[in-house]
């Protein structure tokens, strides 16, 4: 297990390297630059700026320089947010994004699994169809529609919850963005759980349990253990989707997370900020996939890593 973990971590290095390389050159070859303002800067100023940020050197030297600094954990200064390094910006925004993402993932997982099991136990009944219809709506309605609608209903019409902002991270501020972010994933998880639960309930060992007269609750628990496997393997993509979703949700609910950095960075050609966000996200996804695989092994005795 430990050996497998280490090997997986080692194999993440080339993956990250490819990502960094592709992103670096993609960003650099995009037309425009970080100092293209509406009123062009004086040539001397521009020269000075370019020299300060090492942009006057050949591209391959800049690339090697960036890699060398990256290995030491230095993401460089931001070109647009003056006096801030990218590291500082990410550290400032990450707590909000992680808190939001974690609560959304928890909500999606708990409610999604409960709804899926509920529907699977009543397969082809009206309740089953109702749950699945709601889940399909959840998959198809984009979260930038859900967000404003929630704001309109609960913030403006009922006046129950704040429209946006993070406050101190209290529950009232968290509820709406968490729901809007969790809804699509919740729907996917519910659909997944339902279909795998139906399959699990038909399995031979469950039939044996039933024949032996186990109570319903125990049977569900046994079936659920097998049924959760596809859900666990979906958690990797789900986490990645939550990260993307939070770009929209943070914008709608005015949450000062890292979601806005990427889009703004790309639009402003803030090279280091874009790169920093890419590196952070890629490491996050790689790490999360590793956790999912380890979890998978813990749940399924047939999977062994050695």
């Amino acid at each position: 297990m430990l050996g497998y973990t280490l090997r997986r971590l080692a194999s993440a290095v080339p993956t990250l390297f490819i990502i960094v390389t592709v992103a670096f050159f993609l960003v650099r070859f995009a037309p425009g630059g970080p100092f293209d303002l509406e009123q062009p800067l004086a040539p001397q100023v521009l020269d000075n700026l370019r020299r300060t940020y090492n942009l006057d050197q050949p591209l391959h030297l800049q690339y090697l320089d960036y890699l060398a600094k990256l290995v030491r954990g230095d993401l460089g200064p931001s070109y647009t947010a003056l006096d801030f390094t990218v590291g500082e910006m990410l550290r400032r925004g990450l707590p909000y994004s992680i808190a939001l993402g974690a609560s959304a993932l928890t909500l999606a997982l708990v409610l999604g699994v409960v709804a899926g099991v509920f529907a699977a136990l009543r397969q082809n009944s009206t309740k089953d169809y109702a749950v699945m219809a709601v889940a399909t709506v959840g998959v198809t309605v984009p979260n930038f529609v859900v967000g404003p609608v929630l704001q309109l209903v609960f913030g403006l019409m009922l006046g129950l919850l704040p429209l946006g902002g993070w406050g101190g991270g209290d529950l009232a501020h968290r509820v709406l963005p968490t729901i809007a972010l969790a809804l699509p994933q919740m729907a996917v998880i519910a659909r997944l759980t339902r279909s795998s639960m139906i399959e699990a309930l038909r399995a031979d060992h469950i039939r044996t349990l039933r024949a032996n007269g186990l109570p319903g609750r125990a049977i569900i628990a046994h079936a659920l253990r097998g049924a959760l496997l596809p859900v666990v393997s979906y958690l990797g993509p789900a986490a990645a989707a939550l990260v993307t979703g939070s770009v929209v949700i943070e914008k709608i609910f005015a949450i000062p997370g890292v979601g806005s950095y990427f889009v703004e960075g790309a639009l402003n050609r803030d090279y280091t900020l874009v790169m920093g966000t890419v590196v952070m996200l890629a490491s996050f996804v790689v790490l999360f996939n590793l956790i999912v695989d380890l979890l998978y092994a813990a749940l399924d005795p047939r999977v062994r890593y050695d």
């Binding site: 998959v139 309605v141 984009p142 704001q151 709608i252 889009v263 639009l267 996939n289």
Partner: protein
């Protein structure tokens, strides 16, 4: 399902029902899928033929009807006509005498201390409500004109947007873009994914290993962010953007196709082809790819809504198609910005958007169930 085409070509006469007929029958019995197919066809007809039948060009701005709510009654309302005429004449610097409107015609008397230039009717025509204004009577040496013309009646069944453009026409035009973009990107991903997966699966061994390792590496890229970079890079040429999206979304397709190919290449008819000396390319084209059709079609129907969602996501971030073109994503995000003052702006595009995604999902699920060989 893998030998659907085989069975349908020969040996079916005895049993009378081929596997593909069975699948079609199962699909027909799935009422949700059939309803979705019909609904999707209607939406496509609405989007592609609608703009030709609509009385409003999609980029025509009606300054008199900015953000008017949806209504089955034609605009303008009779009560507002006199006020509108007064404002038009104020701009022309003449005074308004009697005004009367009946049905689709109006009659107005203009007065002024000085003789009035008959070209003043242009000021009246310029307003969206009135048309064909002409002088019918000149009195008091031109200081008093009687003008007649028609009242232009306009229907805005879904209202107009914040710039005064007909929302229904914009939904049609936006739907075209969304649907085309979804199909285009899916086709690109289909071509790359099927070719990649079929070659990897059929070649096997080291080639397969290298090709699928490459797919694994790509899997851990944060895709949406690469798409955003591509959008910035291509300068918002939306066709290129979606070719690019298709080019990064082919990974799942490649995996599915590879798995199927691995199973297929052990089949007798492939061995027979090999024994007959058919080349690798020939076997792939003639025997492998046609038999992959089932899972590929299912995957395609589920891919289109994903791409449409992605397009709307980009549009929401302001990275989508540019005005005066539009897409459902653009319309929805405009609606989200004005949700309080004009909620219908988000309601109508969302209805079309969500029903399309709904239909595609149901069709995909239905096809999967119908083609599933285990469920016979």
């Amino acid at each position: 399902m893998t030998d659907a085409s085989l069975t349908s070509q020969g040996g079916t006469a005895a049993r009378g029902r081929s596997l593909s007929t069975l699948a079609l029958q199962r699909l027909k019995r799935n009422r949700a899928a059939v309803a979705s197919l019909i609904g999707l066809a209607l939406i496509a007809i609405f989007c592609f033929l609608g703009p030709f039948l609509s009385s409003h060009p999609n980029d025509r701005v009606y300054q008199s009807y900015v953000a008017v709510p949806p209504s089955l009654e034609p605009y303008p309302a009779a009560a507002t006509l006199e006020r509108t005429m007064q404002r038009a004449l104020e701009r022309a610097r003449v005074d308004m005498g009697d005004f009367s409107a009946s049905g689709t015609t109006f009659r107005v008397t203009l007065t002024s201390p000085r003789p009035i230039d008959p070209r003043v009717t242009r000021y009246i025509d310029r307003v969206d409500e009135f048309d064909d204004a002409r002088v019918v009577e000149t009195l008091e040496e031109g200081r008093r004109l009687v003008v007649e013309g028609t009242v232009q009646r306009q229907w805005f069944l879904m209202g107009t947007d914040m710039s005064g453009r007909d929302l229904m026409t914009r939904i049609m035009v936006g739907g075209r873009i969304s649907l085309i973009v979804g199909l285009l990107a899916t086709l690109v991903s289909l071509l790359i994914g099927v070719a990649w997966g079929a070659i990897a699966g059929y070649a096997g061994g080291r080639i397969d290993n290298v090709m699928m390792r490459f797919v694994d590496v790509l899997y851990s890229l944060p895709f949406v962010f690469f798409v955003i970079l591509l959008v910035v890079y291509f300068g918002r040429n939306f066709v290129l953007i979606f070719v690019a999206i298709g080019a990064v979304e082919w990974l799942d397709m490649a995996r599915i196709v590879r798995g199927q190919t691995l199973a297929l290449k052990r089949r007798e008819f492939v061995e027979a082809a090999q024994a007959l000396g058919v080349g690798t390319g020939g076997i792939l084209r003639r025997h492998i790819v046609p038999n992959l059709l089932g899972p590929v079609v299912v995957f395609m129907t589920l891919m289109v809504p994903k791409i449409i969602l992605l397009e709307s996501f980009l549009s929401f971030l302001g990275l989508g198609v540019q005005a005066p073109l539009t897409s459902w994503g653009v319309l929805i995000s405009e609606g989200a910005n004005n949700i309080q003052s004009a909620p219908y702006l988000i309601v109508f595009p969302s209805i079309f958007f969500v029903s399309t995604l709904f239909a595609l999902n149901f069709i995909g699920d239905g096809l999967r169930d119908a083609l599933d060989p285990r469920d016979r």
